[in-house]
Symmetry: C2
DNA sequence: TTCACTATACCGTCCAGCCGGTACACAAAC
DNA sequence: GTTTGTGTACCGGCTGGACGGTATAGTGAA
């Protein structure tokens, strides 16, 4: 793997394992097996490193959404259903240390959140495009957000079986039934 | 207002307006109109200050939940409905800078999140006590979490009218209809 | 006078960013 | 084919500033 990506991975791992406060250039360098100078060669500042982490998170989300969208059956709420599946993907951001990018960004410099805002705007558009009921889609996706952030904050509610049931319930809400409104 | 609470308010405001990184003892003191020595008189360390912020958040949540619970009609999902109303309360944590306590805690010292975890455990119990369908309640409450965290991260989706519709939809899902299961 | 509270000065530590230097690969010049 | 030059990747020490925490002195009310 490239040193560039290696550094980002190391930084993510630090945030997950030791907390945002421990993310220093020195620590990231050591975790990546190089020196601080090496880190600063690839990222010209700490902000820049965090920008890279955020971009990684976004890329991963886009990739995951794209993959699941292809697999998802056509019809209403296709994007919303995609989001649900992506949220429960065991290799997705919800379960990976990439989420730490958010904490790092909001902590060190809230301006670095801008790409995230843009990402949400894109999602919003997609949802609006194929959701018969935008409130329904928004609620379910917000719930996915909730689950994601809970994990990010170290809050664990229920086991994997409960997660499975929750996912089914979410998908159920996105499957229009004839003769039943809610 | 007591100096104690004044300092906490000032700290919250800093986190909201300038980001967690700017929350220093000096800054909190200045914002509260006293000196650093004064802050350290009331809180024996920065961790202690953040503990105070977290406690404030929890107290506010408990208070809000209690109030809305009284007003909420009896029946299934009473606690879940309470959570929805509390989430959209304009003076509640979702719209107040108190949420910054979470960011400060997770950033400076993840151990400080312990009271939050306990709070979630309490909520979980309450929900389980009066929710006919725990998945339904969990999903709706997770959505409230999602909205809360989105605001915390500076993500604004939709205006107040959209919020209103979202709230109604959430409450709708918690109002059992005869002859319709989901 | 005592106590609750606040101000000021200071110390030790940590960290971001800078910079001079090294190693190596490749290439053009002679 | 040796020398000289150029660019990339990385190293590690240094420094200036910021921050948490301590010590101590001061102040006003009871």
């Amino acid at each position: 793997m490239s040193t560039f990506d290696n550094i980002i991975d190391a930084a993510m791992a630090i945030v997950r394992d030791q907390g945002v406060a421990k993310l220093t250039l020195d620590a990231a360098a050591k975790a990546a097996g190089i020196s601080k100078g090496g880190v600063l060669y690839h990222f010209k500042s700490k902000d820049d490193l965090i920008r890279g982490m955020v971009q990684r998170l976004i890329d991963q989300c886009d990739q995951l959404n794209h993959d699941y969208y292809q697999r998802e059956s056509e019809g209403p709420y296709r994007w919303a259903r995609t989001m649900v599946h992506a949220c429960f993907d065991p290799t997705g951001p919800a379960n990976d240390p990439v989420g730490g990018a958010l904490l790092a960004a909001i902590t060190v410099n809230p301006v670095l959140m801008a790409p995230i805002h843009a990402m949400y705007a894109r999602w919003q558009e997609r949802l609006a495009g194929d959701s018969p009921d935008m409130e329904r889609a928004g609620l379910v996706c917000s719930a996915m957000d909730g689950l994601f952030f809970q994990r990010l904050m170290g809050i664990r509610l229920g086991d994997s079986a409960a997660s499975e049931r929750l996912m089914r319930h979410a998908l159920d809400l996105l499957t229009p039934k004839e003769g039943a409104s809610s």
